[in-house]
Structure formats: structure tokens, C-alpha cells
């Protein structure tokens, strides 16, 4: 379904934020909207956004490629982002990430073979006083999980995986 059909009021609301002659400014919020439910921006989305923003497909792809939080391919249903920057590392974030990854049998940036869990090593999440921590993303739901241990995180993953399987909800794949 086209974005305009799926999100008519949201798109109108986004365009209203910027002066009428500055439509290109809407590209970032529109990309967030495009990947809100699916977890990634498709080629069809890009083509449609050229019409809305007046930008070329190349210019939009440049924005997708430049910013870390835009995705051009489907990710895991449960996306887990762990900060390992200096302040978090001083509280054990790297060892924590290594241990969680080992238990899941994947490396940072990879998705488990069942497509459920994707784990990413990300830059500062502005919660350095409560490290180790991760941000989870399931569909359009984002949440911070602070003061973590590998055990705590794995328990959470287990319960989320079970409840997603039960409801048959698509998470980032919908």
C-alpha cells in the first residue's frame, strides 16, 4: 500500500511543519514514517517520497545511507541496541554485549537464524549513568532497559520472543 494511502493525516501533519517552499525538509520525518511498521524503507517508498518531497531518488538514498537509524532491509523482529561508548564501557558494557551475543550465537550487527533477534552495537544513548543498557525496538515501540546484566537481558528476550510467537505479531516484519 502506498504511504499516502496508509498515512494521509501523518504526512499532511509532517509537511505542515515546514514552509511550503521547503518541502525537502520533510524527508527525514517521512523516512521515519515509512519504516515505522516495517522496520525498513523500501524502493517503492523512495519512489513515492520523490513525489512528495521534490528530491531525487539518489538524494533520498543518500539520506538513508548517511544516517545510522534508517534501514534499507528488514531487520530482526526484536531490535536490540547496546551502547558501548566510553562511559558505558567503564561500567562493563563491552563485556556485557559480548556475553549476550555469545548466548544468542550471533555477532553485533547480525540477526538470529529464526529472524527474531537483531543486536546492534550503537553510539551513546544518553543514559551513561545506568549502563550497561540497551534500547529495544519492536515494531514502532521503543524502550530503554537500564542497569542490565546478561541474565536480565536474556530473560527479557526469552519472554518477548514467546509473547511475539504467541500473538503471531510481526514486529518489524509486519
Amino acid at each position: 500500500m502506498s504511504l499516502l494511502k496508509k498515512y494521509p493525516t501523518e504526512i499532511e501533519h509532517i509537511l505542515a511543519k515546514y514552509p511550503p517552499e521547503q518541502k525537502q525538509s520533510a524527508v527525514m520525518p517521512l523516512l521515519h514514517l515509512a519504516q515505522l511498521k516495517t522496520g525498513f524503507v523500501s524502493r517503492a517508498d523512495i519512489d513515492e517520497l520523490t513525489g512528495i518531497t521534490g528530491l531525487s531518488a539518489t538524494e533520498i538514498a543518500t539520506v538513508i545511507g548517511y544516517y545510522t537509524l534508517y534501514h534499507d532491509a528488514p531487520g530482526g523482529k526484536i531490535r536490540i541496541q547496546v551502547c558501548t561508548d566510553v562511559a558505558c564501557d567503564l561500567r562493563g558494557a563491552k563485556d556485557y554485549l559480548r556475553s549476550v551475543c555469545q548466548s544468542l550465537g550471533i555477532k553485533p550487527g547480525e540477526i538470529t537464524s529464526d529472524g527474531m533477534v537483531e543486536i546492534e552495537e550503537v553510539k551513546c544513548l544518553a543514559a551513561c549513568d545506568r549502563a550497561p543498557l540497551f534500547q529495544s525496538q519492536i515494531g514502532d515501540e521503543m524502550e530503554y532497559h537500564e542497569n542490565q546484566t546478561p541474565e536480565k537481558t536474556l530473560d527479557w528476550i526469552k519472554s518477548m520472543t514467546a509473547s511475539l510467537a504467541k500473538t503471531g505479531e510481526g514486529g518489524n516484519h509486519e
Binding site: 511543519k17 515546514y18 514552509p19 521547503q22 525537502q24 525538509s25 520533510a26 524527508v27 527525514m28 520525518p29 523516512l31 521515519h32 518531497t53 528530491l55 538524494e59 543518500t62 539520506v63 548517511y66 544516517y67 545510522t68 537509524l69 534508517y70 558501548t84 561508548d85 566510553v86 562511559a87 558505558c88 564501557d89 567503564l90 561500567r91 550503537v122 553510539k123 551513546c124 544513548l125 544518553a126 543514559a127 551513561c128 549513568d129 545506568r130 549502563a131 534500547q135 521503543m142 524502550e143
Partner: protein, 416 residues
Amino acid sequence: MSDLILLRHRDIPGLNQLKTYIANGGFETWKNVVTALKPDDVLNEVKNSGLRGRGGAGFPTGVKWSFLPKTIWPHYVVCNADESEPGTFKDRELMEFNPYQFLEGMMIASYAVEAHDAYIYFRGEFAEIERKIDERIDELTSKGYLGDNLFGTSYSLRIHTHLGAGAYICGEETALLESIEGRMGQPRLRPPFPAVAGLFDKPTVINNVETLANLPYILAKGAECFRENGTPKSPGTKIFSLSGRVKNPGNYELPLGSTFRELIFKHGGGILNDAKIKAIMPAGASSTLIPATEEMLDIPMEYEATSAVGAPLGSASVIVLDETVNVSRLVNSTVHFFKHESCGKCTPCREGTYWMSHITERIESGKASKEDIDLLQTVASQMQNKCFCALGEFSIMAVLSGITHFRADFEARLEK
């Protein structure tokens, strides 16, 4: 009685509810500003307060506002809510728990420079915070605090939000403007400065969240009252984000000029496991490493004093290292951060951070020789004063100070 001004929500439960904020005097200042003061009155009060930008540069806020030419319109106000410096988590607390004070400040700033549209630029990871602030903006519009003909005057103001998507460089104000305009966040050549040609090529003021959160207090109590805290050159209180190897990490609002010792040992409870303190990074990953000698611990945390020892205060995100921390590992971490976040626009930063990361990685993996330490120092020195924006310059701070003060930590990692 507590003296908290910015972190007032810790004393007043539910301050992030509009009715609680209003019951505690919220938006009275805003109403008074719009109905009784001229824009220049507001500007002069802020100038007299001596408030300095809390995002890192410490530039006087009122002076920054006064650069906007009155011959080019419209004017814009942009709030920098891109808080991305590793070790910084103060704006997040303000936006979550004391959001109306920040918004009221942003409204006051807009009135002072006669802007009718203002934008808040959030980092992409703050999507939830953006959503809540959007709701609050709608709420304020429906109650008549934002919108057209405010309080029966001719003044109108709308606040819009814009969500980034994961790029540290967008905290640099011209890269931030590029990002709002729908492009890659790469810094612009200056001049022209944003005050003259900023957002959409129009005069623009860009202020940090914490800077703006100070304004309701300054306009309500007056510049003199604001100056009762802090030092003559760095007046007011500041939120210090304390992290690293301390017992009680967190945000602490203290008068500017408080010492590192007070922050780390009195408020932060001292070092984890009562280990020995080794070094301080006063400005997050962008910091110079200060060896934590008795003398350094007594340095007042204000803009001039820390700069005098070669370690600008920046956003005052104080990361503490204890004796268990190897500086080579830490430097490897900061260098990788800057390599990832370099926007690629200028060669010294793009190539410099890339090659530094190879050397620090080699040292960390135990495959480096003594010459590699010198090589790292040489690469960093060659970047100095040659980068297009501050990111490149920040990337070498921990490298150069780390090698100067803690060379043994690097040597300990060399091939045996």
C-alpha cells in the same frame, strides 16, 4: 530547602504534568513577557544575566541573540536537543521530567528575537521523547500558550519538532541545520554564521535545551538573582552529568565554579570499590584527559578555569577513570567513536580518525611496537587545527593527552 532551578522536578513531583507546572507558577513568566515586555527588554535581561550556552561552547546567550540582523526576516529559533556526546545525559532528564520549563524557555527565546516559528531538533534515539513533546506542544496550543495572537497581542508562535536519525555530528549547529533541511548532516562553511544565514538561509538562533531551561528563572527573578550562583564570568548553576567509575553516577545541578572534588567525592560518593582516582574527562569523549592530582581536583568547574589547564568544560559531562582503567583501551574507544561519527566532509578528520583507529586497534590487540605510539601521536598532531569543524579536533584530545600523561598504559599493551 533545595536550591535546584533546572532539576526542580526532583523537588516537585509531577512537574511534567501541565497542571502541576502551572500550579507552581508555570507560564506566568511567559504571559508577562508577551504582554508586558518588549523583545529587547528580554534580550537585555538575558545579556545582563551573563548566561552562557550550556551545549558546550559557553558563548554568552544574550550576545548570540543580538547578532540577528533586524533587516532580514523571518527569524528562527532552533533548539539543539541532539545530546549525543558520550557521557552527557542532562537534556534527556530535562525533557522527560521538566519539559514545560524547557518549552517556556524556548518560547521566551523566540519572543526575544521575534521569531514566529521555532524548531526542536532531537537525536533519532529520542523518538519517544519527541512524541511526548509533540503532545505537550499540542496541549499548550489548545490552552492558548502557543499559537496565534497570544494573550490578545499580535504575537504568534508555533513550535515544531524534527527527529534526527543517528548522527553525532548533527549536534554541530550548522550540520544540524543541514539535517533539518533534509540533507546529510555535514557542517557548513562559516561565515556566513547562522545568526545571519541559518535555517532556510534566514537569521537563526540555535540554543541548547539546558540553556533554554534557564530562561524562565532569569525572566522571573531577574539577572541579579541568577548571578547569585556561580562565578562572575560563569554565572548560574549547571547540570553536571557524572559517569564512569564512581559510586553514584547521575546528573547533579551545582553552581558553576564548584570543584571536581565536590562533584566526584561529595555528590558522586567517591570511586567504585574505593579505588584510586586516575583521571577526569570533563567534557565527555571530546575531553582532554586530566590526571586527577590533588591540585586538579580542586579546580573550579567553570569555563575559564578548566580551559586554563587545557581541558574545556564543554557540556560538563564528567567521566571519571580509576586506577583499574587502561588509558589505551579508553583511547581506542573514543577514537572508534569519532571514526564512526566523522561526516567525511574534510580529509584530515575522515582519514585521520580512520588511521588512528587502525593504530589504536593494533596497540590494543598487542601487535604494536613502540614506534606505533609515536605514529599515533604524529597522526593526531597532524590533524590539529586542520579539521573543518570541532569534531575532528575533539577526536585527538584524548589521544594526545592520553599519550602525554599515561604513556605507560600504551606501552603495557605492546608486543612482548
